[in-house]
């Protein structure tokens, strides 16, 4: 281990993260290394300076605008109800629009398709000699009765 490794241990020890063997190794090194001792003292001074940093106060009333748990639940409830109402309205609107579209489809199909359907009278005709013709055609002489 070189001095930089020991200085890493100084930082780690400061945070209470060094293991016992690491602490012991460091202690022995610091006894003999003035530079690393100076570093260790420097970090202690830094910790003190950091703790001494002034704390600023947030703007007055900053958190007053945040609803507490009760009001938040009420807000949530209002949003929830509004959301349900909006969703229901959307479903109805969608239903109306879909129904209109389907109906429009039917009516649009009527004029074109009816013409085509009207041309299907040939379906009423049966091939000559078929059972359909035999059943549907008036029997011979029937008209004469």
């Amino acid at each position: 281990m070189n001095c930089r490794d020991f200085r890493k241990l100084v930082s780690k020890r400061m945070d209470g993260e060094a293991t016992r063997p690491e602490e012991e190794t460091l202690r022995l090194h610091l006894e003999s290394c003035a530079d690393c001792r100076a570093f260790s003292e420097s970090l202690a001074a830094i910790a003190g300076l950091h703790r001494g940093l002034a704390e600023l106060e947030p703007r007055a009333g900053l958190l007053e605008t945040i609803p507490g748990p009760k009001r938040f639940a009420e807000h949530l409830s209002i949003w929830w109800k509004t959301g349900i109402a909006a969703a229901a309205a959307a479903v109805v609107l969608l239903g109306i629009m879909t129904g209109g579209y389907v109906a429009a489809g039917f009516s649009a199909g009527t004029s074109a398709d009816q013409a085509e359907v009207s041309e299907l009278d040939y379906l009423g005709a049966y091939p000559p000699g078929s059972l359909g013709e035999a059943l549907m055609s008036p029997a011979e002489g029937e008209d004469d009765v």
Partner: protein, 190 residues
């Protein structure tokens, strides 16, 4: 009343408990954001977001973890998101906040005794030295020193590895030590 008792009360809709908890944490958390490099406006915004999350969310505080660890974890996540969005463009320097070692702004008008003046200048230098650190390093330093989180907790909060947390803290301190060492070697009050 301890944090856990307050949390339980908040869970039952107790407004007063929420206000007590907010009062307890608003200042340290605000300073956490500021010292990590967020602007005053952003720090206020982050603080509001944090408490909105607190009041609106379910409290997933583990039995073995303190509320303090939990709330700083939420704060760290918000800060990290903010850093990613802002790309540090609107991050302020510490000197503008702690220029006189107190609340920023005007210098102390009356001359101070030598020792006190040197201490004051050292605090200024320290604040300026902090400013030279990358914002994520400052955030990690704050989580360790102010929030007193362990390496593991910081790693969980930030997504860093424990090794990276250890390394960042060492490098940050090494740099701060170097800057202050230069200052001292050059003599205070230059």
């Amino acid at each position: 009343m301890d944090d856990r008792a307050l949390i339980r009360r908040i869970g039952k809709g107790d407004e007063h408990a929420f206000r007590i908890l907010a009062d307890r944490y608003r200042r340290p958390l605000y300073n956490f954001f500021l010292r990590s490099g967020a602007s005053i406006e952003d720090s206020e915004d982050l603080l509001q977001q944090l408490f909105m999350k607190l009041v609106g969310g379910s409290y997933e505080v583990r039995e073995d973890a303190s509320f303090k660890t939990y709330i700083y974890r939420v704060a760290a996540n918000l800060l990290i998101d903010h850093m990613r969005r802002s790309r540090r463009a609107d991050f302020v320097d510490f000197d503008s906040l702690y220029g006189d070692g107190e609340t920023g702004g005007a210098r102390a008008p009356a001359p101070l005794p030598d020792e006190e003046a040197e201490a004051s200048e050292l605090r200024e230098r320290y604040a300026a030295a902090l400013e030279t650190l990358p914002a994520p390093w400052r955030a990690v330093l704050e989580l360790r020193v102010t929030a007193e989180m362990s390496y593991k907790e910081i790693a969980e909060s930030t997504g860093l590895t424990v090794g990276a947390v250890e390394s960042i803290l060492f490098r940050a301190r090494e740099r701060l030590s170097g800057i202050l060492g230069e200052f001292r070697a050059g003599g205070a009050g230059r």
